[in-house]
Amino acid sequence: MDTQPIPERAPVVRPRRSPWAVRGEWLLELIIRFCGISAVLFVLAIFFFVFREAFPVLGREGFSLTQFLFSSEWYPTSATHVRYGTWALTVGSFSVTALAMIIAVPFGLGAAIFVSEFCGPRLREVLKIVIELLAAIPSVVWGFIGLTVMSKLIVDLTGAPVGVNLLNGGLILALMSVPIIVSIGEDALKAVPDSYREAGLALGATRWQLVYRVLLPAAKNGLLAAVLLGVGRAVGETMAVLMATGHAVHIPLGVLDSVRTLTANIAAELGEAPAGSDHYRVLFLTGVLLFSITFVVNLTADLVIRGIRRK
């Protein structure tokens, strides 16, 4: 088809655009293309600048990467023996995230199922708006709630010695990551073709059977992605955990123990680490670690979602 010559036509006199308009459009498209690429540039820049500040410490005497990753002794300003071990902080981050997910995943997925399968259109609109507003609450407000309201509640209800602890941080993070799980989870359920539902209903299945036997298996990748994005949000959260987890360098033995997370550690100490010092660079290295963790989590979520689309 393409190779066929275009039939001859009488020349048409068309109004020509001014060369400036053509050039302007060319320039504009160039700008648009550049802006499109900018996202990549920013991600690279973030990695570059954070790594650049961290890099000099890697070769420094007395600093070992194994110790950084796997020692739980964090003594960045010790007068006698400086040690930079982030293991307890990593464990802290993951334990808060895990607790948050234990709470948030059932609720988030349950709400996603309810919104997508069980409720009428009007209620659905209302619920979605509420979820959106819940997602909009700034993290410092969550932290403030953890510090003032939740900590007193936790002391009164559980008799814990201190109200700012793993449980407090976990609850706050759960509330913060539920909205993302609901909205992505609902998208995943919506992506299941209606023919599946119709087939199920035609076989006499109830809604619950439909959800349990058909939709959950069909949407499992999307739901997994929803959970992963929730994890990403929880791992990266800073202000709320800074204010609500109690900030103790300590591998937690129970939910009423205080912990410190990677993010909160940076937020607490960055302001006081003189620029250019080893301590300052190690904090940037922690940033690199965090960046890598969230990068992997997000990448996995994206691959999982992409996997669904291809199907």
Partner: protein
């Protein structure tokens, strides 16, 4: 007839399970609404004694134990609008590229991935980046500029995502019709795609504002200060190369660092911040609802 449709035990079990499942899922959904309502109510009740017009326009007094939040409020407005001025054009153009120009090849998949990752980068890492790149490398120092640029990059994905959604909702046939009358790609975008998606784009911009206003970590190390002396009610108290106070940061400092604060003061600050953010979000939602009801295709 009756026996034919009578409930067998199996059906009864099925139905019971069905209503159980419905009930459980309903409760789970309600469990999400309750915190929002409870939090807002509790904060407002606690903040009530302090909330007033005077609280908004007054400066902090008596060692930040009393008075208002004016410098923080204005500081937040500065940060939000400057970050918006950077992020909005960049984000909208990036979204136009991704949705109108980009073909589905490996390079654009990388761009997509970058956008997703940019959205997932923890706020504290953005803070580190802002400190390393803007404060030190670009030598902007601790300033409103550094803080706003950090915020702009952080909120860029918000604008990109919702602008793309808005652009994607314009039917392909509109574009094809326009191309068929000989319009170039840009002419099509300008005269067909953008006018039909402008409210959607606006929604994204509004969401960016709400996100930027609430962030604390990225500005804490790049340009927000503990205190800055300004006059009560001054409209333009800051230079762009100075640092400023910000609402989110102010909430953090008065609840963790200032002793003897009047009890309702941090609550009132939290309510103003929360109220502003929710109001902005609600307007974005309202805009979207109006837009959807008016859509003709």
């Amino acid at each position: 007839m009756d026996t034919m449709f009578a409930e067998t035990p199996l059906v009864r079990v099925k139905r019971r399970r069905e209503s159980l499942a419905r009930g459980v899922f309903f409760c789970m959904s309600v469990a999400m609404i309750l915190p929002l309502v409870a939090i807002v109510t509790y904060l407002v009740v606690k903040a009530w004694p302090t909330l007033s017009w005077n609280f908004l326009v007054d400066i902090p007094r008596e060692g930040m134990r009393e008075g208002g939040i004016w410098p923080a409020l204005v500081g937040t407005i500065y940060l939000v609008f400057i970050s918006l001025a950077v992020a909005a054009p960049l984000g909208i153009l990036a979204a136009i590229y991704l949705s109108e120009y980009a073909r589905d090849n490996w390079f654009n998949r990388i761009i997509n991935l970058a956008v997703i990752n940019l959205a997932g980068v923890p706020s504290i890492v953005h803070a580190l980046f802002g400190l390393g790149a803007f404060v030190y490398a670009a030598k902007f120092g601790y300033s409103i500029i550094s803080a706003s640029l950090t915020l702009a990059i952080m909120t860029l994905p918000v604008i990109i995502a919702s602008t793309r959604e808005a652009l994607a909702s314009v039917p392909q046939s509109f574009r094809e019709a326009c191309w068929n009358v000989g319009a170039t790609r840009w002419q099509t975008i300008r005269s067909i795609v953008l006018p039909n998606s402008v409210s959607g784009i606006l929604t994204g911009v509004i969401l960016q504002v709400s996100r930027a206003a609430g962030e604390t970590a990225p500005i804490m190390f790049t340009g927000a200060v503990f205190y800055k002396a300004v006059e009560r009610g001054t409209l333009l108290p800051y230079y762009l190369d100075e640092q400023c106070m910000a609402l989110s940061m102010h909430l953090y400092t008065i609840s963790t660092q200032v002793p003897g604060v009047e009890e309702s003061l941090p609550y009132a600050t939290a309510v103003v911040l929360l109220g502003a953010v929710l109001l902005v979000n609600a307007s974005a939602i309202a805009l979207r609802v109006v837009l959807r009801s008016r859509k003709k295709w």
